[in-house]
């Protein structure tokens, strides 16, 4: 997205959030219209199930309606704030699923990555391109890069990563940890955090 289009979109979303905080239902509807398709895509990827993704989207927006006032424009971008709310609810669901279905691991398969749409690695590179931080992603080694992409876009846990990438759990954990450390250094040097 062109930088000024993004600035304009963010300004618009901030205004809509501010008006939502004052219980303006029209602003809230517009906020939904502009952001729900993105947020639904995020939830679908992680939960891999339409009904669950719909529920998360619904819960998230009801939550936004009640807590739009706690959004502080000076601290985060509006879409980042909204996406975090949705992601955290998705991950919370996965966490509860893991507790509820202890036997999931025994099914061996468990993780079906060959789902619709672009692969996580492609998404990671496309996302990095959009932010002009591709060099940070490319600097990662293949294994760690794949692990980060699967964890971020598909919500895979360490043990799921280990099974999917056919690597020992310890290896996967240190891949993820080191990749995050390298990403932090690289992204911060490009001025990603404010």
């Amino acid at each position: 997205m062109a930088a000024d289009a993004q600035v304009q979109r963010n300004a618009r979303l901030m205004e809509l959030l501010a008006r939502t905080a004052l219980a303006d239902q029209q602003a809230f509807a517009e906020l939904y219209r502009l952001t729900a398709p993105h947020l639904y895509a995020v939830a679908l990827r992680i939960l891999r199930e339409g009904a669950a993704a719909e529920e998360v989207l619904q819960e998230s927006f009801v939550n936004v309606w009640h807590h739009a006032a706690s959004y502080v424009a000076a601290k985060s971008q509006p879409l980042t704030w909204l996406t975090s709310i949705v992601r955290n609810r998705c991950l919370d669901r996965l966490r509860r699923r893991e507790i509820d279905t202890v036997t999931m691991d025994d099914e061996g398969e468990g993780v079906n990555i060959a789902a619709e749409g672009p692969a996580p690695l492609e998404l990671l590179l496309a996302g990095a391109d959009a932010l002009a931080v591709r060099s940070c992603i490319e600097a990662l080694e293949a294994g760690p890069k794949q692990a980060i992409a699967l964890a971020f876009y598909r919500g895979l846990s360490h043990s799921e990563l280990s099974r999917h990438l056919k690597q020992p759990l310890g290896t996967v954990k240190s891949w993820v940890r080191r990749a995050l450390e390298r990403l932090r250094a690289c992204l911060d040097s490009l001025g990603v955090t404010r």
């Binding site: 219980a23 971020f152 990403l183």
Partner: protein, 234 residues
């Protein structure tokens, strides 16, 4: 779990945002997050780093029933959970405000408050203005409410690493921080006690320029940019 060991907070925050922090550890971390500002700050920075990477996802239109369900839920809950009346939400009115003189702004703000369906009678209002008397922000609170709504009526240009902080200037005491303000838009600051109590000895509010995250000392460290008298409409 020790969140305080060096580097630990940041490593946990990164795993939390990426999603690999799972199980009970995730639940524990989330609980700690609510009260630990160091953790919350680390999480916010990791969200800034990672979450925008999701923006390249191809959007998927959710079924229409999702919006219907959201609307049904918020309407069932009363439709306006913490809101003022609709007059407050009219942006045109607020835009108009920015153009008028200080006195006119105050009069309008008062009339808005009067027409808004108030839960309780009695409101505190302050119009904050720059040195040149140009109004920049309106702060208002129900006297019995525990929040202060601040609307920036003229956007403020801020360097990326600076923030605006709102202060209560009590008679004969040190300034007390009320919260951070965005450079534009509206913010609702939470007060620890009802507004009339919080501001009972406060004739003036002020906004100072502070480093990101607010004054590190608990007192204004930067220049005071705007001030305004507190009006009690009761």
């Amino acid at each position: 779990m020790n969140f305080r060991a060096p580097g630990r907070a940041d490593a946990l925050a990164s795993a939390y945002v990426l999603g690999t922090l799972r199980g009970r550890a995730r639940a524990r971390f989330e609980r700690a997050l609510r009260s630990d500002t160091v953790l919350a700050d680390a999480v916010r920075r990791w969200e800034e780093r990672l979450i925008p990477l999701a923006e390249a996802l191809p959007p998927v239109a959710p079924p229409v029933r999702v919006w219907s369900a959201i609307l049904a839920r918020i309407r069932a809950e009363g439709g306006a959970p913490r809101a003022r009346g609709s007059a407050w939400t009219s942006l045109a009115l607020w835009r108009g405000l920015a153009l008028t003189a200080l006195a006119a702004v105050l009069a309008l703000a008062v009339s808005l408050l009067v027409t808004a369906p108030e839960r309780r009678e009695g409101t505190l209002v302050a119009v904050l203005a720059a040195q040149d008397a140009k109004p920049v922000a309106v702060a208002s609170a129900d006297r019995a409410g525990r929040s202060l709504t601040v609307k920036l009526i003229a956007p403020v240009e801020l360097a990326a690493n600076r923030t605006l902080q709102l202060w209560a200037l009590p008679e004969g005491g040190n300034p007390r921080p009320l919260g951070l303000l965005p450079a534009s838009g509206i913010v609702r600051l939470t007060l620890s006690s009802p507004a009339e109590q919080t501001l009972h000895d406060v004739p003036t509010l002020a906004v100072s320029l502070e480093p990101q995250g607010g004054s590190p000392t608990g007192l204004p460290t930067g220049p005071v940019l705007f001030t305004g008298p507190v009006q009690r409409l009761y």
